[in-house]
């Protein structure tokens, strides 16, 4: 990509839209920030608008993956795929035997089979990819978010609370003893 500095403000704005970066007007004070954002986005190699169609298809499958709650359901899904593959093979044998006299249908059927099988091979892999990515990402993110939000560490708050509770308990226990009352009388 040619130097971002030489592009017009409108070009920068269009590029930001392509990389789906939310932005305001590209003026002198905001330009360098947006150029930096674009450089980062280009380095990551985010997909651009032109390739959206295929990206959406995968995204549909992956988002459908996220909505299904547990791994057991995924196992069932992959199990059903395993079942359907031998089924295809059985059908192929049957059709080959019945259509042995005809030369045309079998190549057609084979053509379809070849087209369908690669997509079926793809689906289990996207499933496994979708499983691998969310869980490792969630665990490092959760403790980081938890740790950075507090000014006073959590354990300090607990210790302080216990100290106050112990003090109150001592006060109450000393109030209940009757020996001191007799001394006053």
């Amino acid at each position: 990509m040619s130097s971002l500095r030489s592009k017009s403000a409108q070009d920068i704005s269009d590029l930001l839209d392509e990389y789906r970066i939310k932005h305001g007007p590209v003026v002198d004070s905001t330009r360098s920030l947006y150029e930096k954002k674009l450089k980062e986005a280009m380095a990551k190699g985010k997909p651009k608008e032109s390739c959206d169609k295929t990206y959406y298809r995968e995204e549909e499958e992956v988002t459908y993956e996220y909505s299904t709650p547990v791994r057991s359901e995924g196992a069932v899904n992959s199990g059903s795929y395993m079942r359907s593959r031998p089924e295809w093979r059985e059908r192929e044998f049957e059709h080959e035997q019945s259509y042995s006299s005809y030369s045309r249908p079998t190549p057609e059927y084979r053509g379809r089979d070849f087209v369908d099988e690669p997509s079926m091979y793809d689906k289990p892999s996207t499933y496994s990819n979708a499983y691998m990515t969310p869980t490792p990402m969630k665990s490092p993110e959760a403790p980081k978010a938890a740790n950075s939000s507090r000014l006073i560490p959590l354990w300090v708050q607990f210790v302080f609370f216990l100290a106050v509770a112990a003090f109150l308990y001592l006060v109450f226990s000393s109030m209940e003893s009757n020996d001191s009352f007799k001394a006053i009388e």
Binding site: K22, H23, G24, V27, S29, T30, S32, L33, L151, I152
Partner: protein, 90 residues
């Protein structure tokens, strides 16, 4: 547990008028000087930048860190200060 400082409360509690950039929460003398050198000598100019970035907290935080050398905590506190001021007065 969010504890706001007196400086934060002072800023968010009234229109900023002509207050200096050091009146912003998180911006001390050193960061204030860096911002002044770039022309951001008043709090309202920094507000202007915040609004130009469409009040996006992440964008503004990043801009502030680049422009003034603020760390994440200072930039975050300043962003929060401006957000609350905008919620109250804009």
């Amino acid at each position: 547990m969010s504890t706001t400082t007196q400086k934060h409360r002072d800023f968010v509690g009234e229109p900023m008028g002509d207050k200096r950039v050091t009146a912003l929460s998180g911006i001390g003398e050193i960061l204030g000087e860096k911002l002044r050198q770039q022309g951001f000598d008043k709090a309202y100019v920094v507000l202007g930048q915040f609004l130009l970035l469409k009040k996006d907290p992440e964008m503004f935080t990043e801009w502030l860190k680049d422009a003034s050398g603020a760390n994440s905590r200072q930039a975050g506190v300043c962003t929060q200060c401006l957000r609350e001021w905008c919620d109250a007065f804009l």
